[in-house]
């Protein structure tokens, strides 16, 4: 604790809770690890219940802190993960493009999420669909881009993307897309009362002051 004293904490960003859902083995943990630490482990374990990591991300010159909850896909962990759905800002539905059944299960995941997160107006909730393992060969691919888009349209989900945690393609983009999607949903929903909005405002003020200060120091 004492080490922190006097240090002015830096992350005064908006906090966004992101939940990653999807069948076991589609690479949720890998996505998170790639995104957060740019690290890929071929032999990763099953997640027990949930895992949690933080990551700052900048979009349109605005900083956000993503609190990413990576969940266990196995059915036997169902009771361990569902408590964490509540209070999510973004839900990332994942499947593996070489696994048709994981794609089909997304309906189930979506419903599970809506149920446990207690979302009422489900249409406006920012879901993003991520098809992972885009590194597999064409022969191995079982879900086409078209299928993905069709599914998203049917389910009223605006954002989808294919990624590869293995070769780091589109991972950053996926999360960025998620936040942008959230921003849009947020402005649409026009929620007035939100605990986080204060934080955003203050940080804005703060950075304004900083900017003028810095400008003054260098321009003269």
């Amino acid at each position: 604790m004492s080490g922190r004293v006097n240090m002015r904490p830096t992350n005064k960003n908006a906090l966004l809770k992101v939940v990653i859902l999807g069948d076991g083995g589609v690479g949720k943990s890998c996505l998170m690890n790639r995104f957060v630490s740019n690290h890929f482990d071929e032999h990763s374990f099953h997640t027990i219940g949930v895992e949690f990591l933080n990551k700052d991300i900048e979009i349109d010159n605005e900083s956000y802190t993503l609190q990413i909850w990576d969940t266990a896909g196995q059915e036997r962990f169902k009771t361990l993960r569902t408590p964490f759905y509540r209070g999510s800002d973004i839900c990332m539905l994942t499947y593996a493009i070489d696994d048709k059944s994981s794609f089909r299960n997304m309906n189930m995941w979506k419903n599970e999420f809506l149920y446990y997160a207690d979302i009422k107006e489900n249409s406006s909730f920012p879901f993003i669909v991520v098809g992972n393992k885009s590194d597999v060969s064409i022969e191995e691919r079982e879900v086409s881009q078209l299928e993905l888009e069709t599914w998203c349209n049917e389910n009223g989900i605006a954002s989808c993307i294919e990624t590869s945690a293995k070769n780091a393609s589109n991972v950053q983009e996926a999360f960025k897309m998620a936040v942008q999607h959230w921003l849009r949903a947020e402005s649409r929903a026009d929620r007035t009362e939100c605990t986080y909005s204060d934080t955003v405002d203050l940080s804005k003020k703060q950075s304004d002051v900083r900017n003028s200060c810095c400008a003054g120091a260098t321009d003269d």
Binding site: M1, S2, R4, V5, N6, R8, P9, N11, K12, L15, F45, H46, I48, G49, V50, E51, F52, L53, N54, Q67, F77, T79, L80, R81, T82, P83, F84, R86, G87, D118, E193, T195, D198, T199, L202, Q206, V209, C213, G216, A217, D220
Partner: protein, 1176 residues
């Protein structure tokens, strides 16, 4: 750990103190928000389970005591009487537990239900007795016999105490005889001739006889006779050469009834054979076998007493028949001899009366008599069932005794008769099992003896069958018995009876457990033989099942609501558990005596039944909990109190089940029963609860903040009630979690993560609420101004958040993350456990960061709120033209006051933080001030005033000189310095900067100048030697250069000439070689920032507008003060330069002095120099 312990201790201390003070009302108000939601699940639940545990412990102690009490008895049936339990050795009062009302209610429910069960009608009609053994003996005959026996009383004990008349009236009563009949039969009895009575004497042994023979031994034998009939003598065998002979021989002496004063003579003689030793031995050798020898010796003895031989008397014992009790006696008598005082030895005799009678008839008579008297006894003495232990009233005792004696029944026969008589009544009038056990112990000896009578064995088993239903019934219906010591004793007795029966060889031809008596056995274990142990087992199971069935039927739900269902389940579990507890008390007896795992058997049964009953419904209830939705965004009081009590019931049930399982686990060890996983039934419920808990917590936090008066709880701390209230909530959640004692590790991990996340959320929520609460505080508006003063409330709010935040980490330690992770590592693997740990730590760190940010945010808010006042005061202070100390002090006082408050109230960390923030803000304010006021063209005094203030503040702020933003500070200070200078000072400052810049040059496009300089006293000698590589100024590629020497600042050297050299035309390398001497005053010479400037110019064709080539500066302090010849000094090479940077702070400041002629002039020239344009 210890520091955390201390931490929690302080919290709990504070809590206590808070309670002890007036704050109870406060607490109540808080709890009203949600109906003591957290207390219900935390401490109240905890307390309740604690007292449950206490009670368990007590029960356990009681059970142990009980088993200790019963065991010796169970094992030592040989001397059953001796091992009567040390009565009430444990009579010390057992510590009473204080039960709260609800518990008492529960207890009452359980007791009541059990009571009802006890009184409930037996489901099956009690076994019909079809084997009627009563072979209709004529009651009159029996009565006559009894009357006759009373009349001819035998023995010493009865007649003296109980008159014949009393006995007669007693039997009349017992036989329920009419007076007439009585008299008639009495007369008949009196008319009958007196009975022939026999005195049975057993000569057992003698000891310490005196020696009569030369070898120091005797050859004793016994002669016995009655005084009234001394001619009829009975002799025992002779025991050769011993002083301690053992005879064990029986004699029956006929007694004349009228001679009650008769005396029995016992004489011990030393046998002295007439024959020589050889003769004697010869005779013995002829005899075959031991029996022959005995007979021979007997013969010899008889002849001896007839006086044919000189036998010697050892001693005589005289026993009056009056002294012999009718029940018989065993006694040592001393042997005396006339004229001899010394004891001749002692002899042991067994004396009793008997009669000659048909044994079978007598036994039957006796049985009927026993039955009659027993029923009468039970009727008159009002002894409860299962209590009569074989003791008749004295009259009955006398009559029975008389009958025994006069009928000549032997003890063995009497035992069998008693067994028959007592077991016969067992069905209608249960007697003490102890009595049966005692009897059985005696009988089993007879049964095992080789001499047993097959007829009586058969009778024994016939009657045993009458006893067994009652034994098995006790086990089966033990729940109908009061839960006390007596019942336990009965069980022990029954088990011992069963054990003894099991040890006996059971008859093959009779079924011990016929189906008509044990109809319930049909459904049970059909395939197993109906052995005693199997039936016992079946009885245990059946008993448990029946009882449970009854409980389930009896404990009805009032309706089918979820709430009612949970209450119902809870009640059932409680009742079952209390029964299991009772079973545990009996368990040891069952195990040790009958080798039956009683409690385990029951547990197995119950757990299955309970699982079947509860599991599915419970899971669906937990699922349905979700349906009571609550609005996350609307935390206002919602009406979910119903659901909350639902939750309470749910967890009460959970805890009850856990206790049940816990009890069962101690019994069943590692056996995997279905109920072991009962926690999974609640999983959904726990999740829901945690969700609800967050909402509740937030509601309560909101209320706590609202109620908080923002004053410290006591002098020792710097936080107020809401912080403590918030922690209390956390604490309750923790207790709740402890209570749950969730058995599954993986889901524990998930729950803990959830709890931590939730608590963090609550912390944040608290921080927000706290911030809102204090917002607007400290704003002071009076007639003159609006300003903000830091208030204690603000500080407390910050402290509160900080306190809650700091408590988070120790709090999570309390959740025992470490052991959780360790267990995870064991069941999964260390790597995954590590990742889980990381996740938990991440969640926590993340929360702490966020809350820290919140605190900083709040600190910044405070600092921000201070800014306007500070700004205003700073301006006011700077504007006052004649700077007096007051104006500066007003700023300082404002700062001082507020910082003092902050310092006083905030903890060190936060104080330092806010100091930093305020300082940063101050910088920003000053910066803004400078810029806006430069624009406003404030006079230099304004800035210099500000600067003075700044320096004062720096002094007071920075006790440490290490600052994070010193650059900014220096910058501000510099700006203030610059803008605070007079114009000529500023101009010189520009020159000084030019000199500094020149020192940095490595080369110059304008050329170099070589000079020598020297101070000789106050005279400055300047030798200008040459210039090199001058920049071509003219179209012909050359310069027509000259050098002018000036001293700066100009206004200080107005009296000094400005000499110049000759012009050297068309030369880029002119050799000037001129020396000037300038006479300075010592004041001028010692000016701190005096400069010599060499200005090299290109002489214009007309001499009107010389072009500026470049200039070079030398600082006066760099000029050597020497008397040496200037030629001997080293040459100084100076790079020529032009002003290049026209945007320095000084120049900007000059430019801002638009009205200043001097400044304007200077700037104009500077720009000319810079561009190299002609200088006028």
């Amino acid at each position: 750990m210890s520091s955390e312990d201390a931490f929690w201790k302080t919290i709990s201390d504070k809590l206590k103190r808070q309670k002890s003070v007036v704050e109870k009302a406060h607490e109540r108000k808080l709890q009203e928000v949600d109906g003591s939601f957290f207390e219900r699940f935390g401490s109240i639940l905890h307390e309740r389970s604690e007292s449950e545990k206490k009670r368990d412990l007590q029960n356990h102690v009681r059970a142990t005591k009980a088993s200790v009490r019963f065991l010796p008895r169970a094992f030592l049936h040989q001397d059953y009487e001796d091992s009567q339990p040390p009565q009430e050795a444990d009579s010390e009062p057992e510590p009473e537990i204080e039960l709260n009302e609800e518990e008492i209610d529960n207890q009452i429910i359980i007791t009541n239900v059990n009571k009802e069960f006890s009184s409930s009608a037996d489901s099956e009609q009690d076994e019909k007795d079809d084997s009627h053994y009563y072979s209709g003996m004529n009651l009159d005959e029996l009565y006559l016999e009894v009357l006759y026996q009373i009349h001819h009383n035998v023995g010493c004990d009865v007649t003296f105490e109980l008159g014949e008349t009393a006995l007669l009236s007693y039997v009349q009563d017992a036989f329920k005889m009419s007076n007439e009949k009585h008299n008639q039969l009495l007369t008949a009895a009196q008319e009958r001739e007196p009975p022939e009575l026999l005195l049975n004497v057993e000569v057992i042994e003698a000891k310490d006889l005196i020696a009569k023979d030369s070898n120091g031994l005797s050859d004793p034998f016994v002669t016995l006779y009655l005084q009234s009939n001394s001619s009829r003598r009975y002799n025992s065998s002779v025991k050769m050469e011993t002083l301690n002979p053992v005879w064990e021989e029986h004699f029956a002496l006929p007694v004349m009834n009228e001679s009650c004063d008769d005396i029995l003579y016992i004489e011990v003689w030393d046998f002295d054979p007439a024959e020589t030793m050889r003769e004697k031995f010869g005779k013995i050798l002829k005899v075959k076998g031991l029996r022959g020898a005995t007979r021979l010796i007997k013969e010899m003895a008889i002849t001896a007493t007839m006086g044919q031989h000189e036998n010697e008397l050892i001693g005589i014992a005289k026993i009056p028949l009056k002294t012999i009790p009718s029940s018989g006696m065993l006694m040592w008598y001393s042997l005396d001899r006339k004229y001899k005082m010394a004891r001749q030895g002692v002899i042991k005799l067994h004396l009793s009366f008997g009669s000659e009678k048909n044994c079978q008839v007598a036994a039957q008579e006796h049985r009927h008599l026993l039955n009659l008297l027993l029923l009468h006894e039970l009727e008159t003495s009002q002894i409860g069932p299962y209590e009569w232990d074989g003791k008749f009233g004295s009259q009955a005792e006398a009559i029975i005794m008389q009958h025994k004696i006069q009928s000549g029944l032997c003890p063995t026969e009497i035992d069998f008769v008693q067994w028959a008589a007592y077991t016969f009544v067992q069905k209608e009038h249960p007697l003490s099992f102890g009595l049966y056990l005692k009897l059985l112990t005696k009988i089993s000896k007879h049964l095992c003896a080789p001499s047993r009578n097959e007829e009586s064995v058969k009778i024994f088993w016939t009657f045993t069958k009458k006893l067994l239903p009652s034994c098995i019934g006790l086990i089966r219906k033990v729940r109908k018995r009061p839960h006390d010591k007596k019942t336990a004793e009965q069980i022990a007795d029954v088990l011992n009876i069963l054990l003894q029966l099991m040890c006996l060889q059971q008859p093959f031809d009779s079924d011990l457990f016929p189906t008509n008596l044990y109809p319930w056995l049909i459904s049970y274990e059909e395939e197993k033989p109906r052995s005693i142990s199997n039936v016992l087992n079946a009885a245990v199971v059946k008993g448990g099942k029946d009882w449970l069935q009854f409980i389930l039927e009896r404990t009805e739900k009032q309706d089918n609501s979820v709430d009612e269902t949970l209450v119902y389940f809870h009640k059932v579990v409680q009742i079952v558990r209390s029964d299991l507890q009772r079973a545990v008390e009996y368990d040891k007896m069952f195990q040790r005596i009958m080798n039956l795992e009683y409690a385990k058997t029951l547990y197995n049964l119950y757990q299955l039944e309970i699982s079947n009953l509860i599991e599915d419904e419970l899971i669906s209830i937990c699922k349905s909990l979700k349906t009571f939705a609550y609005d996350w965004n609307c935390l206002s009081q919602s009406d979910s109190n119903d659901h909350m009590s639902l939750g309470t019931r749910l967890f009460e049930l959970y805890l009850a089940l856990q206790r049940f399982v816990c009890l069962g686990t101690t019994l069943s060890g590692d056996d995997d029963f279905r109920i072991r996983n009962c926690h999974t039934w609640f999983q959904g419920g726990v999740e829901q609860w945690l969700d609800i808990a967050v909402v509740r917590a937030m509601q309560r936090i909101e209320k706590a903040v609202e109620l908080d008066d923002l004053s410290p709880i006591d002098e020792s701390v710097k936080y107020s009630s809401s912080a403590l209230d918030t922690l209390t909530i956390f604490h309750q959640i923790k207790i709740f979690w402890d209570q749950l004692n969730w058995p599954d590790i993986e889901s524990s991990y998930s729950f803990v993560a959830k709890i931590i996340d939730d608590l963090c959320r609550c912390c944040l929520f608290y921080a927000d609420k706290m911030a809102t609460r204090v917002d607007g505080m400290g704003d002071i508006t009076d007639n003159y101004e609006r300003r903000f003063e830091v208030t204690k409330e603000w500080c407390l709010a910050i402290n509160n958040i900080d306190y809650v935040c700091q408590s988070l980490k120790p709090f999570t330690e309390e959740l025992q993350l470490n052991s959780l992770i360790q267990q995870l590592a064991e069941i999964r693997n260390p790597l995954e456990a590590e990742r889980c740990n990381d996740t938990l730590q991440n969640v926590l760190e993340n929360a702490l960061d966020t809350i820290q940010n919140k605190i900083v945010e709040l600190l910044e808010t405070v600092a921000m709120k201070m800014s306007p006042a500070m700004k205003k005061l700073l301006i006011e202070g700077a504007e006052i033209l004649h700077q007096d100390s007051n104006s500066i002090h007003r700023v300082m006082r404002y700062l001082d006051n507020n910082l003092a408050t902050l310092y006083e109230e905030l903890n060190e960390d936060n104080f330092n933080r806010i100091l930093d923030i305020i300082w940063g803000n101050l910088g920003n304010i000053l910066y803004d001030l400078i810029h806006s006021n430069i624009d406003k063209r404030r006079p230099p005094a304004f800035f210099s005033n500000l600067k003075a203030t700044l320096q004062l503040m720096v002094k007071s702020f920075k006790h440490t000189d290490e600052t994070t933003d010193s650059e900014v500070l220096a910058k501000i200070e510099w700006l203030l310095t610059v803008n605070g200078m007079e114009t000529n000072e500023l101009i010189h400052q520009v020159h000084i900067e030019r000199w500094r810049d020149q020192l940095e040059l490595k080369s110059s496009p304008y050329g170099e100048l070589t000079v020598r300089l020297q101070f000789l006293n106050n005279d400055l000698k300047v030798e200008i030697i040459n210039a090199r590589n001058l920049i071509p100024m003219d179209s012909n590629g050359f310069c027509d250069s000259f050098v002018r020497v000036c001293l700066l600042p100009e206004e200080k050297f107005t009296n000094i000439s400005k000499p110049r050299t000759q012009t050297h035309t068309k030369n880029l390398f002119p050799l000037y070689d001129e020396t000037f001497t300038l006479n300075l005053t010592s004041g001028q010479r010692n000016l701190p920032d005096g400069l010599v400037v060499f200005c090299v110019k290109d002489r214009d064709f007309l001499g009107m507008s010389n072009q500026f080539i470049g200039e070079a500066f030398v600082h006066l302090k760099d000029i050597p003060d020497t008397t040496a010849n200037i030629k001997t000094l080293s040459q100084v090479h100076l790079f020529l330069s032009r002003p290049s940077n026209l945007t320095t702070d000084c120049i900007t400041a000059l430019e801002n002095r638009q009205g200043d002629k001097l400044a304007k002039e200077f700037l104009k020239r500077l720009k000319q120099k810079s561009s190299g344009s002609p200088i006028s």
